[in-house]
């Protein structure tokens, strides 16, 4: 299995113009690979995940291609995408905990969902999968309101992986969880991969510490574009893009206190994606910016499997 995303551009239509949320992103996902996806809130992570599953009415596929095992995905053709959705590519959406139908017990919801895809539930397998994420069977008899945030999150994860997709996109699945459940979910996800139930994974999270423990490689996006992608160890120990460096630099030391020394984030905010400025999108916040950065930096492979979009990194 290989997924190849090439210069993908997906914009949102709004009354005020197009929001260029995904503006030329390319990468490969290899067989068995877990790719961590990180970046500032609003940089396009969820948009990337949605683009590989279903474009909603406001999303427009402006350019680029996505190829799965040599087949180009018909991104703009909602019906043709049905052949891929859930079976080949599945998504655990961000905030999926609020997407559960409040009038249905979890078990019935799963049966109905699978029936709509022409599959019947293998109860034993379902129980095994629940156990894998640390849920009791009795959640099947409960309504969503009766579960805590983290329990709902795990239930959706089980649902999304029941059909053993080749590619699983997990959007912030651990963000609502405490550390012990994070360990359980990460263990479950790697377990699904190791057992071959899911071939490869895109693991979206803002938590770089956690990503570093599950991902084989990490991709960092900034304002709709790729900033840097590298094997996990390389990215976390020798980042080359100024944004990646600053993001890693803003991770707190455990035990830090405001009273002793306030931490600081990265000054400023990302540019508007409605009419983004030309040139490097990190320019206004970048300590290394100079005249050349008014021109857009290309993505350059500076070492095997290590790509960076910055004039100063090459």
């Amino acid at each position: 299995m290989t997924l190849t995303v090439n210069d993908l551009r997906v914009h949102y239509r709004t009354l005020r113009g197009e929001v260029r949320a995904l503006d030329g992103v390319g990468f490969d996902l290899a067989d068995g690979e877990i790719l961590g996806l990180a970046g500032e809130s609003g940089c396009g992570k969820t948009t990337l995940g949605k683009s590989l599953i279903r474009l909603d009415g406001r999303m427009r596929h402006v350019g680029g291609t996505v190829t799965l095992d040599g087949d180009e995905l018909p991104l703009s053709d909602d019906r043709a995408m049905n052949a891929y959705r859930f079976h080949k590519i599945s998504l655990v959406p961000q905030y999926s905990m609020s997407a559960l139908n409040p009038t249905r017990r979890i078990g019935r919801m799963i049966r109905e969902l699978l029936a709509s895809r022409g599959v019947t539930v293998d109860t034993d397998e379902l129980h095994r999968r629940l156990a894998l994420v640390g849920l009791e069977r009795d959640v099947l008899d409960r309504y969503p309101i009766e579960l805590s945030g983290g329990m709902k999150q795990r239930a959706v994860m089980v649902i999304s992986t029941l059909l053993d997709p080749s590619v699983l996109i997990a959007d912030e699945v651990t963000s609502a969880l405490d550390v012990s459940n994070q360990q359980a979910v990460v263990g479950a996800l790697t377990g699904l991969r190791d057992k071959g139930l899911v071939t490869s994974m895109i693991f979206v999270t803002h938590d770089l510490g956690l990503t570093s423990h599950i991902a084989d490689s990490i991709m960092v996006m900034y304002a709709g574009k790729l900033a840097e992608k590298a094997p996990t160890r390389t990215l976390t120990t020798e980042p080359r893009h100024p944004y990646t460096k600053m993001l890693i630099g803003s991770l707190p030391q455990v035990g830090a206190r405001y009273k002793d020394k306030p931490l600081s984030g990265i000054e400023g905010s990302p540019p508007s994606l409605l009419n983004p400025p030309l040139g490097c999108r990190f320019r206004d916040r970048c300590p290394l910016a100079d005249a050349r950065c008014a021109e857009e930096p290309p993505v350059v492979e500076i070492a095997p499997r290590h790509s960076v979009a910055c004039w100063k990194a090459a």
Binding site: E146, S148, R154, E172, S175, A176, H206, Y258, G265, S269
Partner: protein
């Protein structure tokens, strides 16, 4: 001052008909003005249920919750002083209205006298304070904003009220490291002006950053609480130790904690209360170890 005294919440759970779940079991703690108390514990341990009781959104089955000496009683006057920002921002927006309607509602309910221009300025300032660009987020529908953007709009909304107390349920959990620090520094500023905060989180890496006090919850019960420096610096309950050891750190192995040999509660002479004060402002519950005189229920 927020005071919880032996607060309990029991749900009649749907599972198998008649069962019931005690989501919160005799929890007591206080949060003074200008103080941030963080509430940590695993998924399902009752954190959000406590937050909802503090906000008067659900009633305690027993025990008392008071704010400045008065029982928590939901109503307009109460919500002028106390507000919550929730774990799941989508549920706080009505999808058919623009997201910034949450600001208009605040104005209508609490600041009807403020002139248009001044109100617009206040909204803009609050939006900038949470590191958002007003031009990018105002006038949009909820589905047009990212998760972190929606969550920050709710924080901005809380900033527009003259709050005395804020319940913040996992408000930074969907934010990247840099934005998270900005939001926390903002809370620090509000705290200095006297705001009390109940900060529900599972993110322990920032646990010591702002919190004066920490309450560790498990299965609805407090296992350890007190001065944050003491709880984090010298965790006594095996559960607290496991939690702290399990924080994922960049470029370090992800470990589980080593088991604890003695139960600080029973070593201290097994008092009759639920929690034993091992040092000033540091309380711990029975660890339920095999040699314990009794096990914590």
């Amino acid at each position: 001052m927020l005071t919880l005294d032996r607060v309990t919440k029991t749900f009649r759970a749907g599972a198998f008909g008649g069962g019931s779940t005690t989501a919160v079991d005799r929890v007591s703690f206080e949060a003074a003005p200008g103080e941030l108390v963080s509430l940590i514990g695993e998924s399902g341990s009752g954190k959000s249920t406590i937050g909802r009781m503090v906000l008067g959104l659900t009633r305690a089955s027993s025990g008392s919750l008071t704010l400045d000496g008065e029982q928590v009683r939901p109503g307009k006057d109460f919500y002028r002083r106390v507000q919550g920002v929730f774990q799941d921002p989508f549920s706080c927006y009505n999808p058919v209205f623009k997201a910034d309607r949450v600001f208009a509602l605040v104005r209508r309910a609490y600041h009807p006298g403020v002139p248009d221009k001044e109100w617009a300025d206040r909204v803009e300032k609050a939006v900038r304070d949470v590191r958002l660009d007003p031009g990018q987020v105002l006038g949009r529908y909820p589905h047009q904003l990212s998760g972190g953007q929606l969550q920050r709009l709710l924080i901005a909304r809380a900033l527009l009220l003259d709050l005395r107390f804020l319940v913040a349920d996992e408000i930074t959990s969907m934010l990247d490291a840099s934005t998270r620090i900005d939001v926390l520094n903002l809370l620090a500023g509000l705290k200095e002006r006297g705001l009390g905060v109940l900060y529900i989180t599972h993110d322990l890496s920032l646990g010591t950053y702002l919190a004066e006090r920490t309450v560790v919850l498990r299965n609805g019960r407090v296992v350890e609480r007190g001065d944050t420096q003491k709880v984090f610096g010298n965790p006594l309950h095996p559960y607290t130790r496991t939690l702290l050891a399990a924080v994922p750190r960049l470029n370090e192995p992800w470990t589980s904690a080593e088991p604890v040999e003695v139960c600080a509660f029973h070593e201290g002479g097994a008092p009759d209360t639920d929690l034993y004060e091992t040092e000033p402002d540091h309380f711990v519950a029975c660890a339920g170890l095999p040699d314990c005189g009794r096990t914590s229920a």
